[in-house]
Symmetry: C2
Subunit: 330 residues, 2 copies
């Protein structure tokens, strides 16, 4: 019997790493426990078991496996990466005052902001404990650096919001913080823990970084309805939150006085929520299409980085994953 | 010319470690910077330069120096400890919705909750980067464990608040989380980084733990006006926040029906803010005095731990510090 349903690249990758991902999930469940505070596993389980795709830990496992890892340090690091990601989501939802994530109520809504902040802190600490267990100072260096870049990017996003003077360089720094830094670290530590040659480790880092940037740019494109129909997220969230993303930054730079007045009202002052007008301006300057092309260019960079690694099924699947990430924008 | 003004023990300790503490302060200033997000040093400076006593980094420096440290890893670890403490304060103020700390408006009031959460995350990440620089996996293990205990204790405090069934064991776990875990780790890593014999490292950990518990118990005693006059903090904060501290836990256990009804109204339901009535009940059961005696017992335990270390001026000053911590309760 043949299953005719097309299997998505991240599902194929997950199937190729099924045993490892099961071990990762088991470790996550064990380590999110708390001897003393039952609130911790409650909150964590709500998020961890919400059916996310586990793309980040999958990157770690796949990169490590591709590089011939032995032992189980890559399992620990994959769980570490997912803990850092989960902690970030908990804090993000507090910062953004969100009430929904992945179609479910957020932890800050179900419990309270306090629990989200403190359980996030607990997961950060647990993630560092897991890293320490690998005994690799290089891994600790990479992941603590990524954690700093993530937090810095989030602060930058906060202060750049509603600021029309935000530059493309700042935007890229925010993108690295909110997405690419952890993708990069997740792939890189996979190579490190497998003892891969330096050249391969560098290639994996470049791959993860480019994949993350591509992913985020597609997200920013979709927020203005690039795809034209249902995209599984709320259209115009970035617009309403006054976030300065690439299509907007470029449109502002090329806009006339009337358009600048509109952006000022909408983004700086939050006085207009006319998303249709915003999309019309972006379309006029072609900046949505440019953002799509930028995302494709980063996808190409990600795939080019993979070319430095020995040919293998896993390598092909990682390449397909990069295609899939931007497929939403094709 | 003699300065007749009595010098407090932490000032004597700070004077004995003046060069090291200057290096610590310099490192803190350097590392709290951010290349991209100026909001980070603004928020951090507000707290770091608010004139705290730097007791925790001082513990690390003094313990390391007492054990004959060479190099500058103890400077890095002292800065690490202060960063973890500062991150915790930033998140605490969000969790407690505080508007004052050390007599100044809190960061969440001056900026916003978002900045406090994210800058706290940045400091956590930076603290781990600093630890990694020491290259000591044991130090990383100790401090990541402390960070987990801190977060767990904070969650526990959150869920135990307004719950009359809170036990003394839970109280002690909360105390370890909010205060003793970092005191313990601060002292312990000082010994580790100095290459002290295992027995001395253990003694330093015991000293830090007991000092922290003593410190927190005095705080909990002062909150109900144990000292009878101005104590530099708001009387009754714990009472109003429904926190179950030692004097209250014991008074509840010994109370009659009327008293239990009062505690239920005041702590569980927040319907009474009659602090005088609360103090009267605590006095009747003698639990404030018992809390003072417990604090003194932990002080004695701290000093007994020091006896395992070779005699030195720094050791004596650390003993004096333990006396000073509870002097507020004498």
């Amino acid at each position: 019997m043949t299953d005719a349903k097309p299997i998505k690249p991240h599902e194929r990758l997950a199937a190729a790493c099924a045993a490892e991902m099961e071990a990762v999930n088991g470790l996550i469940r064990t380590r999110m426990a708390s001897e003393h505070a039952p609130r911790i596993p409650e909150v964590t389980a709500h998020l961890v078991e919400a059916g996310g795709k586990r793309v980040r830990p999958l990157l770690t496992v796949a990169c490590a496996k591709m590089c011939g890892v032995e032992g189980d340090d890559h399992i620990k690091l994959a769980a570490t990466v997912e803990f850092i990601h989960t902690a970030t989501l908990l804090h993000d939802d507090v910062v953004d005052e969100s009430d929904q994530r992945r179609g479910r109520p957020t932890a800050n809504l179900l419990w309270d902001n306090q629990s989200s902040v403190l359980v996030g802190d607990y997961l950060f600490a647990r993630s560092f404990q897991l890293m320490v267990e690998t005994g690799s100072l290089r891994v600790l260096d990479i992941l603590s650096g990524a954690a700093a870049t993530i937090a810095e990017g989030e602060v930058l996003q906060l202060t750049a919001a509603r600021n029309l003077a935000t530059t493309e360089a700042t935007y890229l720094q925010v993108v690295r913080g909110k997405t690419a830094a952890l993708f990069e670290a997740a792939a890189e530590v996979g190579g490190v823990v497998a003892g891969a040659p330096e050249e391969h480790v560098r290639a994996l880092a470049t791959f993860g970084d480019a994949l993350g940037i591509s992913f985020q740019m597609v997200d920013d494109w979709l927020d203005y309805g690039g795809a034209g129909d249902d995209i599984g997220k709320n259209l115009g969230d970035d617009f309403r939150e006054g976030k300065l993303t690439l299509p907007v930054i470029r449109a502002i730079a090329r806009g006339d006085d009337a358009e600048r007045a509109f952006w000022r009202d909408a983004l700086e002052r939050g006085k207009s929520d006319d998303l249709d007008r915003a999309r019309e301006i972006l379309a006029r300057h072609g900046t949505l299409e440019e953002t799509r092309l930028e995302a494709l260019a980063w996808r190409d960079k990600a795939k080019a980085a993979l070319a430095a690694l020995p040919s293998s099924d896993l390598r092909d699947m990682l390449g397909d994953l990069a295609d899939y990430v931007v497929a939403r924008a094709n």
